[in-house]
């Protein structure tokens, strides 16, 4: 049987506010345990939550970027359950009237654009952390993370493959970092993904029973976990089994998902409006003010790049995978007037080199104007592609500009017809066998001769000219 995969994602986006959602305690990551837990996070008797308004502003930014409805009346609810890292015994979250509803986010599937619907996004506080190691059979509690503001972004079950799920997660990650509302650091848990996965026979209208994979903190794990889960569900059904609704965890070591709790163990969270917090009302003026300050969004910039610089949709998508990347490209493209060339270099050499060295574009040793210097010399024929790569390597290692490197290393491409003719003649004279083969109709022999010429020129001869002149000389004689 052919199976269709259905995936919906719930993403916990940590908002990068200075202080916590309901107290003035710092949200900085990595401090000594419990040094960033105020009376509020410790849930001492008598303490009360006070809303951090910056959380609302940042949430509105995402809502606008998702072209969503911003609810102007927001209610916080208590979600009740006991766990040691949840000091109050309830999490303050939103149930009815979340701040964002009915949004949409475009992803690229191959060359096709697909729109994923965002059901809702609600504001809530993060829990602390339970530390189960180093305490000799006991557990330690670190409340530094407790009260960190989260925006939980819930999608519709619109994705039909692990690749689409990853594309959506990446697009959302791009957007929240682009907007400057989240640092995007997945290792530190700033962007955590839960995946709801089900399968159904192709053509069936009803969804299959879903299982939720919790807390995936990298795109690679997201893809691996979904792939494993899909196969597990298909195997289970084909073996005559039934999928039971459950929450599962992904183990990156084994690459498998395993059951955390079944539907029977599901909590009754007993949501009710938190009487300690008044409804948060958002005025139309507040939304308008935030809208006016919105940056150009990845989707808009993508379209503009295609239009203004003639780059392909695929390249434009890659170039707008982060704001820093897009700005870098635009600087290079504008300075050189060579959009396609700039796109090739930014998406090619630069991306590969950064990836190899584990660097972010922001930390790229070649600033945009230095890459522009290189691209200008490619465009004007000074450098062949081969020489350009040599210059690129030198740019990466030094602070010199492209021209200075070309000068220093004598890498200027030789396009002087006389000089090339001389080298070609020498090559023809020195390789009679190849000449014979070419004349006998073996086209490949030309490449061998061209290679000799390039070698003689130490790679500096203009390859196109070498080809032309070679052909000319061989057919003339």
């Amino acid at each position: 049987m052919k199976w269709e995969v259905v995936i919906g994602l719930e993403v916990h986006v940590q908002l990068n506010t200075v202080s916590k959602i309901f107290s003035g305690a710092s949200t900085a990551f990595g401090a000594e345990p419990n040094t960033q837990a105020s009376l509020v996070e410790l849930a001492l008797p008598g303490v009360l939550p006070v809303m951090n308004k910056a959380v609302v502003d940042k949430s509105i930014r995402l809502g606008l970027a998702l072209d969503a409805t911003i609810n102007q009346k927001n209610i916080f609810a208590r979600k009740n359950y006991f766990y040691p890292d949840l000091p109050k015994g309830y999490q303050i979250s939103q149930m009815e009237l979340p701040i964002i509803e009915h949004g949409k986010l475009a992803i690229l599937v191959g060359e096709e654009e697909k729109v994923i619907r965002v059901t809702r996004a609600h504001m809530e506080e993060d829990a602390g952390k339970s530390l189960h190691e180093d305490f000799h059979g006991l557990s330690g509690i670190d409340l530094n993370r407790a009260g960190t503001p989260l925006l939980e972004v819930v999608s519709e079950p619109d994705m039909r493959s692990p690749e689409e799920a990853v594309a959506y997660a990446k697009a959302l990650h791009t957007l929240v970092t682009w907007l400057g509302i989240c640092d995007g650091n997945m290792q530190e848990g700033s962007f955590r993904v839960d995946a709801n996965v089900s399968v159904r026979p192709f053509g069936q209208a009803e969804f299959g029973t879903r299982r939720e994979i919790k807390n995936l903190n990298s795109f690679r794990f997201l893809e691996q976990a979904i792939k494993y889960e899909i196969q597990w569900q298909i195997d289970t059904i084909e073996d005559g089994g039934k999928i039971q609704q459950a929450t599962v965890l992904f183990d990156p070591d084994s690459g498998e998902t395993r059951m955390m709790r079944s539907k029977e163990d599901a909590h009754d969270y007993r949501y009710f409006p938190d009487p300690d917090l008044l409804p948060v009302r958002i005025s139309s003026e507040q939304i308008d003010t935030i809208r006016a300050a919105m940056p150009e969004l990845p989707g808009q910039m993508k379209a503009r790049f295609a239009e203004a610089f003639g780059v392909s949709a695929y390249d434009a998508a890659l170039l707008t995978s982060s704001l820093a990347q897009a700005q870098y490209f635009e600087a290079v493209a504008s300075a050189t007037g060579q959009g396609k060339l700039a796109a090739n270099w930014v998406n090619g050499e630069i991306a590969a080199r950064l990836n190899r060295e584990g660097l972010d574009i922001a930390a790229c040793p070649i600033a945009a104007e230095r890459l522009a210097g290189l691209i200008v010399r490619i465009a004007d024929g000074t450098l062949s592609n081969k020489l350009a790569k040599q210059v690129f390597d030198a740019l990466w290692e030094s602070d010199l500009g492209a021209d200075a490197i070309i000068e220093r290393d004598g890498l200027k491409q030789v396009s002087d017809v006389g000089a090339i003719e001389k080298m070609v003649e020498e090559a023809i004279a020195a390789n009679p066998k190849a000449v014979e083969e070419f004349r006998a109709g073996k086209e490949k022999a030309l490449n061998a001769l061209a290679g000799q010429v390039m070698k003689a020129s130490k790679g500096k001869a203009n390859p196109a000219q070498v080809q032309d002149i070679l052909k000319q000389k061989l057919t003339q004689a």
Partner: protein, 483 residues
């Protein structure tokens, strides 16, 4: 001196007739002598009190004294106070020394009031008789066989027995007014949001409101000037300009429209209590007040609505008492769940457990709409009833409780009977209105009875005006029990 009002003590301190240390010592000595029989205090700490008194005297010597600097006060054990055990009447917090102070405590300390001790109360403010305290029941100073009322029974008994001239208290469903009535003292519960709840251990957050008890309305007004005011640490604290609550005390009552809700004088009100309220109304008429009948038709529904909403909020508010970070933790347990279960089973008393269970039930999936949502709708109707009533009157008068104080043990086995005695006080909290209890006479069994005055939103000054004028022509408030 021991019978002096706050106002008189303030004058004596200002005139240099007495020092804060002398005052504190006199009250501490009286507490030592009488508290063993009354059990009004959970914690008394002579050293701490005298240190505060010394500081108050020093402040006065430096010319930095305020009106109430050096006046002693008892604090209900629900207000977190730095360095003091803050038990909330519970075994759960028997080991909890608060590392911070409530807004109310900070305000009192800024005014220079001297802490006499921590007043007993029903566990987590749940109760109408003060029999639910882990530290034992408080006795009514007028009759040690009678309950003092609850949950602020320790505060009321302390003021009535002159163990303190003034005491802080809280009111979630009548916990200031009912014990004030039963002990013959004056108590005020302000409009919801007037006094910050920061540092007040939460019972039912949407109903809890801090207030005060003293001998007179004037003293209550002076104290409200200290306690009220916006506090950004409480999101439900109201941001409004400060009022002088004494400003209208001397206003004549001519033309005052007094509403009598017919539902408050129906079946269930004891005859002697009814006569006392009638007499009080007659006194006010003599002062020029005009009586109008009003109706609060949903009064009966206040009991089920309150006993859904308050336990629902309490069930979540009390989840933080889990034995993990502070408070009682069981000695032995085999895993996390057993630690929770045993710590909470041992740490909470039976009334607290009952309300946590009721609250958990009414919020459960499938029951939420039928109980919690329904109760919220009733709450709205009750507020509407008051709004309609206040269209035709300035204050509403009635009894505080159906009877004078009942006997200790009389209703402790029957929670529903106990809940029914809250009939005249619950609606006020559900609507968020201010209300007072003012001593108005004695029942046939010799126990005090209070008159309830209910004001419109922010009508504290008006209520205090009515109470003060009443106290100018009556002397019920200055009667003290023989001890």
């Amino acid at each position: 001196m021991i019978n002096a009002t706050l106002k008189q003590l303030s004058q004596q301190l200002t005139a240099g007739q007495v020092s804060a240390v002398e005052l504190a010592t006199a009250y501490l000595d009286r507490i030592d002598a009488l508290n063993p029989a009354l059990n009004a205090f959970i914690t008394v700490d002579r050293d701490k009190t005298l240190a505060e008194a010394l500081a108050a005297d020093a402040r006065r010597a430096a010319g930095q004294a305020g009106l109430l600097t050096g006046v002693p006060i008892a604090h209900k054990d629900i207000f977190c106070q730095q360095g003091w055990k803050t038990s909330c009447g519970s075994k759960m917090l028997d080991n909890f020394i608060s590392p911070y102070s409530a807004h109310v405590i900070e305000q009192c300390q800024a005014a220079g009031l001297v802490t006499l001790g921590r007043a007993n109360m029903d566990e987590f403010a749940m109760g109408s008789s003060n029999e639910n305290s882990f530290y034992g029941a408080v006795k009514n100073p007028w009759d040690v066989n009678a309950i003092p009322g609850g949950s602020s029974g320790g505060s009321a008994a302390a003021v009535a027995a002159r163990l303190a001239p003034v005491a802080t208290a809280t009111d979630t469903g009548g916990s200031i007014r009912q014990p004030a009535s039963h002990c013959g003292v004056t108590g005020i519960k302000p409009t919801y949001g007037v006094v910050s709840r920061f540092g007040m251990v939460a019972y039912a957050s949407s109903l809890d409101q801090g207030g005060v008890m003293a001998q007179t309305a004037e003293d209550c007004a002076l104290m409200l000037n200290v306690m009220a005011g916006f506090d950004e640490r409480d999101s439900t604290s109201l941001e409004r300009t400060c009022e002088d609550y004494t400003r209208d005390l001397a206003q004549p009552l001519a033309g005052l429209r007094v509403g009598l809700p017919r539902e408050y004088f129906a079946d269930g009100l004891a005859g002697d209590v009814g006569r006392i309220i009638d007499n009080a109304v007659a006194e006010l008429k003599k002062l020029g007040a005009e009586v109008v009948e009003v109706s609060l038709p949903n009064t009966q529904l206040s009991i089920p609505a309150y006993y859904v909403i308050a336990p629902a909020e309490a069930s979540a508010n009390l989840s933080r008492f889990d034995g993990v970070r502070y408070g009682h933790r069981a000695d032995e347990y085999k895993d996390l769940v057993e630690m929770y279960e045993k710590s909470r089973a041992e740490g909470f008393g039976s009334e607290v457990k009952r309300r946590i269970m009721v609250g958990t039930y009414v919020l459960s999936h499938g029951y939420y709409d039928a109980y919690y949502i329904k109760a919220q709708k009733i709450r709205r109707l009750i507020a509407n009833d008051f709004a309609a009533a206040f269209a035709g009157c300035d204050v509403i008068l009635g009894p505080v409780a159906p009877t004078a104080a009942f006997n200790l043990g009389e209703k402790s086995g029957d929670p529903v009977q106990m809940y029914l005695s809250d009939i005249y006080t619950l609606s006020v909290n559900l609507a968020g209105l201010p209300a007072m209890s003012v001593p108005a006479g004695f029942a046939d069994n010799g126990r005090p009875v209070g008159l309830q005055i209910i004001g419109n939103y922010f009508g504290e000054a008006k209520m205090l005006n009515v109470a003060h004028q009443f106290q100018q022509v009556t002397d019920w408030h200055s009667k003290a029990p023989a001890l």
